[in-house]
């Protein structure tokens, strides 16, 4: 259905322009598509990008940065671009009504995945916006009585940055340290709570190292002290079972593009009983019950809803498959290389995230060598800086080891062949770079690197 619609729409838009030789990129695309049998030219010579020659498309192992959109999600979204393009807030015609009911259906799909009521879901532009609304919105709303926030050192940048913003406004923030396995100490959390604590914010699954925090236990503590509990569950949605009542969360940030949905959409869960209130960060037409003004993007929201529905159906299957792939990757690498360290807890971990440190090999040079594998050394937000990851430093990873980390992200569409190829390339590259590494040579000679007085630059 959707495909037919799309095809006819394409034909309609393209044919009138056909005689005019206007060199728009879209038009060029269509003309090459007419000769679809022709092989893709670029494959032979490779693509030149950022000074690196790439032959073909690299295999994608960066699922924590973003995931591809599931084709079933695209199918569900397309009609809302092409024919049902109404504004869901239009009350006077059918276009508006059908969009509105699609948005409400998507709301129910998202709510269903996390065990919430549809009335508790607010659509936003993504998890960053949700985190801003949660941290700043809650504290601004209760600012007369509550002046203190508890969070962790390994949170996502947007939570940490929101906290920093609050600090400038005079709020107190406690950044809880984490244990070497990446999990927080519950006793430390308990000890950090004050009478004026207005929010506890702990992310469910860490984006860099994939560890799963003890959500139920944290929820218990927050319940005991009657403190709102916010969690950034962008990396957890659709990957581990989420139940807002079991976790006792008051606010939860969700993202569309980490669950094979579209980019640019997210959802905020806000508990109704007991009710949590926030000060809106975006003012305007009062959409989404005034919490997030701005037209709700129907196609994106429908995409996120569908992605959640698929995730609910396939979570168990995906989990099993991804665990096997992770196992395959880790054992494949460990068989051929020594001194490979998994960063973060192995037991309490989402298997789709494998953050490894290859001792004596610098991460950036390894990434440069892994041209055919799309991976990152940590968070996409911080990969531009030369600093080692703050998450790894919070774990107490030695600074030299923090420079050697690579994050492999495995997802629904990753295949065994891709894993095998990634293992092969990684091992090959690490071996080459270790040959180049003076540190590896010293260790093989029996010199303890830690004993040397290094000159700091």
């Amino acid at each position: 259905m959707a495909s037919k619609l799309l095809a006819s729409a394409l034909r309609k838009t393209l044919t009138p322009h056909a005689p005019i030789s206007k060199p728009s990129s879209f038009f060029r695309a269509a003309s090459t598509a007419a000769a679809a049998v022709e092989p893709y030219e670029e494959a032979a010579d490779g693509v030149y990008m950022k000074g690196v020659k790439i032959s073909g498309r690299p295999l994608y192992l960066d699922m924590q940065a973003t995931s591809p959109v599931d084709p079933r999600v695209v199918d569900a979204m397309l009609p809302y671009y092409l024919t049902r393009y109404g504004n869901p807030h239009s009350r006077t015609h059918m276009y508006g009504w059908e969009s509105d009911s699609a948005v409400e259906a998507a709301r129910a799909q998202v709510a269903d995945l996390i065990g919430a009521s549809p009335k508790e879901i607010v659509f936003t532009s993504g998890a960053t916006e949700c985190n801003n609304i949660s941290v700043k919105g809650v504290m601004h709303f209760y600012k007369d009585k509550k002046r203190h926030v508890i969070t962790t050192q390994t949170e996502h940048k947007c939570v940490l940055d929101s906290c920093r913003h609050l600090q400038q406004e005079g709020f107190d923030i406690t950044y809880l340290p984490v244990k070497p396995d990446g999990l927080i100490d519950l006793d430390q959390l308990r000890a950090a709570i004050r009478p004026d604590t207005g929010l506890v914010s702990v992310m469910a699954v860490n984006n860099e190292i994939g560890v799963i925090q003890p959500m139920e236990e944290i929820g218990e503590i927050c319940k005991e002290f009657k403190i709102p509990f916010h969690t950034d569950a962008a990396q957890a949605l659709g990957k581990i079972p989420i139940d807002v009542d079991k976790w006792n969360v008051s606010l939860m940030s969700l993202s569309g593009h980490k669950v094979y949905g579209p980019k640019g959409v997210g959802a905020l869960y806000m508990r109704r009983r007991p009710r949590i209130r926030v000060e809106p960060q975006m003012n305007g037409g009062g959409q989404e019950r005034g919490i997030r003004s701005g037209t709700v993007p129907t196609p994106l929201v429908v995409g996120m809803g569908t992605a959640c529905e698929i995730a609910k159906k396939e979570m168990e299957y995906d989990q099993k498959r991804i665990s096997q792939l992770q196992e395959r990757m880790l054992s494949g690498i460990r068989e051929q290389l020594d001194e490979v360290v998994v960063n973060g807890s192995i037991e309490r971990r989402y298997p789709g995230n494998l953050n490894l440190s290859f001792a004596y090999v610098e991460g950036e040079s390894l990434l440069m060598g892994l041209k055919e594998v799309a991976v990152s050394s940590g968070s996409a937000c911080t990969s531009a800086s030369l600093e080692p990851s703050y998450v790894l430093r919070a774990l107490g990873v030695d600074e030299d080891m923090a420079h050697t980390s690579i994050r492999f992200g495995i997802g629904r569409f990753t295949t065994e062949e891709e894993i095998d190829r990634a293992v092969q390339l990684t091992v090959q590259q690490v071996k080459k770079l270790r040959e180049l590494s003076p540190l590896y040579e010293m260790v093989k000679e029996g010199i303890n690197i830690k004993d040397i007085q290094w000159s700091q630059h």
Binding site: A29, A30, S365, S455
Partner: protein, 169 residues
Amino acid sequence: MLRLVSKRLLQGSREAQLPAALTLPRLYHERVVDHYDNPRNVGSFDKNDPSVGTGLVGAPACGDVMKLQIKVGDDGKITDAVFKTFGCGSAIASSSVATEWVKGKQMEEVLTIKNTEIAKHLSLPPVKLHCSMLAEDAIKAAVKDYQTKLAKSSNGSSEASPVEKAANA
């Protein structure tokens, strides 16, 4: 039908991306990539050999360690040079270039190699300038190590481990 349409769309998006991609700022100059892919003069000399000078600079905590070794002939000419580097692609390329440049030159001459020349040769961006500085330091440390060795052997005194000394330099 959907397959056909999506194929068209995919091809379209690829085609459309390519010209844009070419105008993106390059992260690495092709010379950096070349030296990274085919590093010249990788290896080690015996650091206790009196004709070898070893320079070890940087620190693992900073993410860069460079070891540059020179072999000096009786006439004070550098006959051979090798390196090993732990660090980013630019650091590897900088040290690879450094070994190429010092070979066959007089010791006094190589001390005039400036980090700016290396940086210019490799078109290093500002955030990578420290890699070229490290390469310059490594050359100087290697020469210094050789000279102290020479002085010591003429005095006949026992020598300390060149690695530790170099790291202190």
